[in-house]
Each structure stands twice: as C-alpha cells, then as structure tokens.
C-alpha cells in the first residue's frame, strides 16, 4: 500500500505504488532528493508529410508527431530483495521490460532494459525511447559527451554558429551520446551513463530521453534502399542505463570514474573443477 523503495547506503529509489514507475531518487550522502519519473515511449516514424517527403529510416530519424506515445502508463512490478541485491522488475508490455537494480555500495541506480521485438502489425514504424522527467529548471540546456571525451553543451532549438530555423522539433534536437548525457539546474545534476552509443535529447526543461530501439517500415532514400526492418519477428535488445544524482560540483568525479568502470569492466574466465590452478605468481 505504501511506496515501493529500494535503497543502499548511498542511493534510495522510490516507485509509485499505483503505476510501478520510478518516481524519486535520493542521494543520501549529499542529502539530495529529486522527483524522477521514468518510462518508455515511442515515436511514430514519419512516412513523409506535406512539408517533406522524407521518411524516417536507417539514416534519418523523423517522427510523425511531436509527442511520443507511452508503451504503457503503468508497469507490472515485482520486488526482489536480498543481502546482495535489490531489484524492481517492471513489465511494461509483451515487448518492453526493465529491471531497476541496486547493489550494496553502488552510487548509481542501474536500469537494465529489454525492448523488442517491436510489433509493427499496426503498420506504424516505431522508435522507442526511455525518458526521465524531473522538475529541474534546465533553461533549454543539456549536455552530451563527444566520443567519451569532451562534454559539449547542447541548447534546444539553437546552434552556436548560425541562426537556426528549426523545422524538426524532435529530431532537430537529437544529438549523439557516446557514453553520457546530463541535465542540471546549477545545483543538482542528473546523469545517465549508457553502455553503447545512442541518440538522445532534452525536449522539455527537466526532461532527458534516449532512443533505445527502432523498427521502421520505410526506406529513407539515403542510399541503403531498405527499411530498418529485421527479417522474421525482429530483434530484441538489452542494455543498461546508469542513473547518477549528484551536486553539480561533485558530479563529474562520479560519472567519470563510473564510466571508466563500465568501459574497462572485469572479464570472467570459468574453469571446471576445484582447487586453485592459477595464483598471482
């Protein structure tokens, strides 16, 4: 009946008991609390309109409408708590689910999403996003990395070197994310680390979204000559987003160290039998 909570010594994540969606994240060390609503939505892929015949395809992202549609407004949830891990399993639909995970000592919230095969029986190409909505006053700015190195400032509907006539309010604000995207109000910073390059944006102040999967029915006439449509039932994609909430002055140290741990993650070798055949010598 109460809110669903997972927490360790550093992070507390609270889920809405009505919807099963993440609704708040707290950095216990810094006493920072941020309401965050996270869910999956999809853009209806454009097949061309009166302004342009350009369809969304392998090269081009172009949505038919400005507003994405929710995969589901609520998630069926299951809670798993042990001494070594706490997980909330969220099932949004037959083709979209997520595990929100917290290990002891971890300073970030791990969101492992599984999306696909994307259904196209309704004849709509779909571009699926994970979106985080917060009340942060970000004044049109957000930040993405350039190949995991320099962080670049992005400003909605703006280019620093020419006067932009924005004709694509969604796709025209999408940027490549090699490893991270973040938003800040000057005090708090919400960072998402990715496990692979993705597209992402902040289309509303306080909001942050990443495209996780897409399945399209039309070619975009840019050379490939095929729709982005796998043979058979389509592919299923699994990935992870790491969510960090920190004070803006401290955030870089946190996401840089964590990103190093992701890119140089430990590698496992298994061997049958007992004993210790390998030793440091």
């Amino acid at each position: 009946s109460g809110a669903l909570v997972i927490q360790n010594e550093h992070i507390r994540a609270t889920f809405n008991p009505e919807t099963g969606l993440l609704m708040q994240i707290e950095n216990i060390d810094r006493k920072l609390v941020l309401p965050v609503s996270q869910s999956f939505l999809w853009y209806n892929a454009s097949t061309g309109d009166e302004n342009s015949s350009q369809a969304s395809g392998a090269y081009i992202f172009r949505s038919y409408e400005l507003k994405p549609l929710p995969v589901s407004r609520w998630a069926q949830t299951r809670l798993l708590k042990s001494a070594l891990v706490q997980e909330v399993h969220q099932n949004f639909s037959a083709w979209c689910s997520q595990v929100v995970r917290l290990y002891p000592g971890q300073r970030h919230l791990e969101l492992e999403w599984t999306v696909g095969p994307i259904p196209t029986g309704d004849s709509w190409g779909k571009e699926v996003i994970s979106r985080f909505d917060t009340p942060l006053d970000t004044k049109g700015y957000f930040y993405t990395d350039s190949n995991g190195r320099e962080i670049l400032t992005r400003r909605r509907n703006y280019r620093p070197t020419w006067n932009l006539n924005q004709t694509e309010p969604v796709a025209g604000n999408y940027y490549p994310i090699s490893s991270r995207i973040y938003i800040t109000d000057g005090e708090k910073q919400l960072t998402v680390l990715t496990d692979r390059p993705q597209g992402g944006s902040s289309l509303q102040d306080g909001s942050l979204e990443l495209m996780v999967h897409r399945r399209l029915l039309r070619d975009d006439s840019r050379g490939v000559g095929e729709a982005l449509l796998e043979e058979g039932s389509g592919s299923r994609v699994r990935g992870r987003h790491l969510l960090l909430l920190d004070a803006v002055d401290e955030a870089a140290a946190g996401h840089r160290l964590q990103a190093e741990k992701e890119i140089l993650a430990p590698q496992l070798v298994l061997a049958p039998g007992g004993g210790v055949p390998y030793h440091p010598g």
Binding site: S1, L4, P17, E18, G20, A58, Y59, W74, Q76, T77, R78, L79, L80, K81, S82, A83, L84, V85, E87, H89, Y103, P104, G105, P197, R214, R222, G223, V224, G225, E226, L228, E230, E231, R238, E260, K261, L264, A265, P266, Q267, L268, V269, L270, A271, P272, G273, G274, G275, V276, P277, Y278, H279, P280
Partner: protein, 172 residues
C-alpha cells in the same frame, strides 16, 4: 595454429558506420557477421594456446558466445567450478558476479579460501519458460590483476532462493 589476424581485419572492416548503425543492407549485415565469426575461430585457438601455456594446463579451453543471454553450460551443469575475474582497470574494483546456475545452494570461496556471502536469485520468467536461477557474489579484484573464486554446489535444492514478489496493485 591460432591466428588473430582474421579477427583483426574483420573488426577493422566493422569500424564503418554501416556495421554499427543499421545503415547497411541485410545481405551486407549478414556478411559482417560472417567475417566476425570466421575471424573468431582462429583467434579462439590462439587464446586457448596462450591460456594453456600460462596455466601449464593441457585442458581444452572453450569460448562461450552466449555471454549476453545468460546461458552458461559450465556454471549451470558443474558441481564445482572456478571463476577467474580479470580487472583491466588501474585501480581495485569490487564487482558483483552474476552467473546462471541450476537450482541449488552454493558455497563460494575467495582466493584465500575464505567463504564469501552469496545468494541464489530466482528471476521471473515468461509463462512456460524454465526458471533460470542466478548465483550472486561480490568479488574483489586488484588493479590490472585477477582473482580466482571457487564455487561448489552444496545441495541440489535451495529453499532460501529469493523469488521476486509481485506487488499488489490498487484497483483503479
């Protein structure tokens, strides 16, 4: 004889954005996969030879291509096995190891032979699918080094396996 050159060349070809973003035709994507698979074979032989020489073992080494789908014949079928964790980072890390296992309870020991806390989680499955328990334990690995943990199944049933509980939902 092993050889890393074919995989080297396949990975070099796959630097093209077509190989990553979906901007290739299907038959080209199929060919990228073919090149990777053809390159992986001789490279696995090379790695096996290197591991055999380093360990002094004549055992055949095998490579598992199912890393991303939580399937592992060795950890699921063996009653005793070892997990060697290599840390390529220049500082010590604590890493939570998750391995697919079959039902049971397990005893995990660190490189010194001390028992470390472990847990078996029963993850939710789609209806009709067989359950896939996962073994969890925290491993400590030195900078640019490795740690070897040993795992032994101590019983075939685990009455304490953690199963996720559905959250009752209010109507409306």
């Amino acid at each position: 004889l092993g050889d890393s050159a074919p995989l080297d060349e396949a990975v070099a070809v796959l630097q093209h954005h077509d190989a990553i973003t979906g901007t290739s035709r299907q038959h080209v994507a199929d060919d990228y996969a073919r090149q990777l698979a053809a390159g992986a074979g001789p490279c696995q032989v090379l790695l096996s030879n290197a591991l055999a020489r380093l360990s002094g073992s004549k055992e055949a080494f095998s490579t598992c291509p199912d890393l991303n789908i939580s399937v592992c014949a060795l950890s699921q079928n063996s009653t005793r096995f070892q997990v060697t964790i290599y840390n390529p980072l220049g500082r010590k890390v604590d890493h939570m190891v998750r391995l697919p296992v079959s039902e049971g309870s397990f005893l995990v020991k660190d490189p010194k032979g001390d028992t470390v806390p472990s847990d078996v989680l029963q993850l939710p499955q789609a209806e009709g699918d067989t359950p896939s328990p996962e073994l969890l334990f925290s491993a400590s690995v030195p900078a640019l080094g490795f740690s070897t943990y040993s795992v032994a199944r101590v019983s075939s049933r685990n009455p304490q396996a953690r199963t996720p509980q559905p959250i009752p939902k209010k109507t409306g």
